[in-house]
Amino acid sequence: MQTSLASSKTSLRAGLESGLRFGLIGGLVAIAIALQGMIQAFSVRDILSGILSMSQSVLLLAYFAMAYLAIRRADASEPSSMLAAGALCGLVAGLLLDLLIWVGGFVELGSVFINATPQLYDLLTFNQGLAVGSLIQPLLAVGAGLAAAVMQLIPPRVRRPLSVGLTTIIALGFFQDWTVRTVDNTPATLRFLLRPVSGVLYAGNGMSLAGAGVAFLLVAGLNFLSGRRRRAASNAASKPSPARARVRRTAGIAGIILLLLLLPILLGIENSEILDNVGMFIIMGLGLNIVVGFAGLLDLGYVAFFAIGAYTVGVLTSPELGRAVIIQNWWVALPFSLIAVVLAGVLLGVPVLRMRGDYLAIVTLGFGEIIRLLAGSDLLKSYLGGAQGTRSIARPDIGPIQFGLHEIHLPLLGAVRLQFQHEFYYLFLVGCVLTIFIAVRLKNSRLGRAWMAVREDEDVAQAMGINLVATKLLAFAMGALFGGLAGAIYASKLGSIFPSSFNFLISINVLAVIIVGGMGSIPGVVVGALALVGLPELTREFADFRYLLYGAVLVMMMLTRPEGLWPEARRRLELHEEELLSEGTPAPALAES
């Protein structure tokens, strides 16, 4: 019919235009990837051993993502226009990359762009030379583009398991080293079970084809079946009885507690170290959450409290600074550390009481820097150790329980080697639980509500009778307390502290954790720490590109989910207010936030 022909024609045009646009962007992205050196750096590893290298996978992912965006943005509904958009996007991107290869063949790009080496061009053309090789990237890109279109065309029932399966394969491929190392460090019985699995999965430099196939089928199949079950359950309209639901919940909570207790043992020493850092940032995040999230005071110098907590414990317990009185027990030094840090919080709070917004931010930033400079200065060298820092800081031994290497035997799991990384996990766990408890209680108390009132509008809060001074100082003090606690444990775990460790970047990272997690939200802090501290640790092997990825992820997170990963209900409402209202959803009750 005439109208459908016309609409399919415009749809086709829209698709092609979008494909062209995103193809150009995609080409630039591909060139950027090449010039960053990712192709050479990743060429040593494979996703599918001998078949698909990691560097080519990165390019394929880029083509795929661009084509996906092209199709989505074009809002094309006809299959033909989707396919056309995807294909054109891929073609253009691939051709642009070819441009780089061609230009690089004649012009010495390497004197400006250090990664534009002959090796790069060889890798991009799969060593086929200029003529044949130039066909490869566009072909691969077109393939990826078509795949993106196909993904949109297949029914969601099939698409979800497919994408889950593919993502799993890619993740297993990228994180091969980590997976193998983790399997190697699990307790004896688990290792006995899992080692053969990883042996089948991986062959040499990447995944074996068989292993990847099996893993894909398994994961995709499970996802498909669970999707079926969920649909069936929602259709059945049968709810479990309240008693049954309660039993399920308690079992669930018990399970989670058991898992938390066993986590370091199950995951091994490397992941315990990662979890230690996550725990540290959770404690700090909760502290900053009080200052920034509850009370709305933008503190960019949070690292100062971390430093004071660490240095107090270090100075009091280390025998290297030549002091007469040395506290040998970390637990005895801890209260001093906490008192010192609370005093510091109040001291910081006083001058900034009347400052608003960004003035507050810069002064707190300055405070953080001043503490770092003083800690490393020659002036205070005899007290604080100066540039050399302090070593031999006490471990938090409790009587007969010493932190160090222990061999234990667990039922079911076999022989386990406990090292200080595992042991500190428990200390951090206790710290986290304590701080979460305090934070939740504070949030639901009068003080917590006072903070939120101050955050929303200071003048009105004051008019309602809230003592601004006390409220703000208490916010700083509580925030400082948590920061100092984290610092004290950190100093003990590392056994040595250096002033250069307490820099501005830590303040920024803690801030990022709470904002990405969801400002003001306590579960958000935990999620944010896992995402921004835990995940980057896994990418340490891609050393050079870690920060590139970190920055990109931060930007993307804020663009797509500015309210955070686990936001306060109120926040989500604020940020998506218009969307919710237009959808006709009634605003949820604000009793719980």
């Binding site: 190697d184 020493i269 050399q388 290497l405 222990h406 061999e407 076999g414 502290i497």
Partner: protein, 415 residues
């Protein structure tokens, strides 16, 4: 210390238990700590913990290249097995060192580690590695306390010289050879530079000289003139600034513009004895001195090493002064492996960890590129020959800009 025996005993027990339960072949490992068993065709895994990203990455890359060249010279294999050389980025900080060491310790295939670069990484990192039975040889740690008898970790060795040696040599040269009686020192607040500057100052004063000022700048500072003005106020005859390329470049470039320092001598340390620094400074650098390891005393293999370095990595000059130390560190480990490894009839290699450590400790008179290396009982394996170099004239300046620093020192430390 009792804990040491408990730890060793526990490690021995765990080694036996692991060997029994780990499904290992029927080799009876009698090593106190445990063995690494390498099946035929599998690689011998030696790892590194270097600063490969961030501001100091040239140091990490330089030491990595040195080790890689050593592997190349061995044909990429040891005892018939290929050598696998990879590692972790240690970030020149305590937490970086901890993270890198933990990851490496989690990998049971690693036989030994070459690392770390910065002393701050070694303090927490080395004990973690040794707890896993991994011996560590550092090519560039210079902090004295790492080989202090009370603090030293048994599995730790280093082929780099001690800060105390370099600072003392510099002071000696300045006072005795140059006849300077008033000097000043500058550092950048980092542990390495601060230690060196202060060792220099103390030694200089001990010899009878006067230190007019010890000034510090911060990493990232660009305008050094105010700090230099303060230094100038004391009228020193020489300023010793053992800092790194960025700050050193600024200090050197701005030095002569500061009234009072027009005729003052400049002296730096091995951190800035590189072409990058010379380029950053410009022609002002003519007349400057450096304290440094004595490259001319390095064995005959050194010149070859530099040539291979420049060719393989496509650079005009070496990136930092520790590549040769890294080369030697690898070779010491390789020699020790060859000494203690037990090779089965089918080609499986068994390396006892305690035995490896003892073999490295027993290194005596090893002919390395950096000299004759003998490991002291505290872990210092270096043959510290310090020297002082000078950029005498335009010709040497041009050569340096093109990639070659002066080859012949103007003074060598007497043995």
């Amino acid at each position: 210390m009792n804990r040491k025996w408990i730890v060793l005993g526990v490690l021995a027990l765990s080694g036996l238990v692991l060997a029994a339960c780990g499904g290992a072949p029927a080799y009876d490992c009698t090593d106190a700590i445990g063995c690494v068993n390498i099946a035929p065709g599998d690689p011998i895994h030696i790892a590194y913990a270097f600063v490969t990203s961030g501001a100091n990455s040239t140091l990490g890359l330089d030491t990595k290249y040195g080790a890689e060249l050593a592997i190349d010279d061995k044909g990429g294999e040891l005892l018939g097995h290929p050598i696998k050389f990879d590692g972790q980025d240690s970030g020149c900080s305590a937490e970086g060192g901890t993270a890198a060491a933990t990851k490496l310790a989690a990998d049971s295939t690693i036989v030994a580690v070459i690392g770390t670069n910065c002393s701050s990484e070694a303090v927490p990192g080395v004990p973690i590695l040794w707890d896993a039975g991994i011996s560590v040889v550092s090519p560039s740690n210079t902090a004295p306390y790492l080989t202090d008898p009370n603090l030293r970790v048994l599995g730790y060795f280093r082929t780099a010289h001690n800060d105390t040696v370099q600072g003392a040599a510099a002071a000696h040269y300045v006072f005795e050879e140059l006849g300077v009686t008033k000097a000043a020192a500058m550092h950048d607040g980092g542990p390495y530079t601060e230690a060196l500057a202060n060792v220099f100052a103390q030694n200089f004063q001990g010899l009878g000289g006067t230190i007019t000022a010890v000034e510090a700048v911060s990493p990232g500072d660009t305008d050094m003139k105010p700090a230099l003005t303060r230094v100038a106020a004391g009228n020193p005859e020489l300023v010793y600034f053992p800092v790194f390329v960025a700050e050193g470049g600024f200090i050197c470039a701005q030095f002569r513009d500061v009234p009072g320092l027009e005729n003052t001598l400049m002296m730096g340390a091995d951190g800035i004895f590189t072409p990058d620094f010379v380029k950053a400074c410009g022609a002002n650098v003519i007349g400057m001195h450096w304290s440094s390891p004595d490259f001319s005393a390095f064995g005959s293999g050194y010149a070859d090493l530099v040539e291979k370095y420049k060719t393989k990595y496509n650079v005009t000059g070496t990136l930092a002064p520790f590549h040769a130390h890294s080369y030697d560190a690898f070779n010491i480990i390789a020699a020790a492996i060859e000494k203690v490894a037990v090779v089965d009839s089918d080609g499986t290699v068994h390396i006892g960890r305690q035995a490896l450590r003892d073999a490295i400790q027993a290194t005596t008179d090893f002919k390395g590129v950096t000299g004759n290396l003998t490991c002291s009982e505290n872990g210092d394996c270096a043959d510290p020959k310090l020297a002082v170099y000078e950029m005498k004239d335009q010709a040497e300046f041009d050569a340096a800009v093109a990639g070659t620093m002066p080859k012949v020192p103007v003074w060598k430390q007497a043995e």
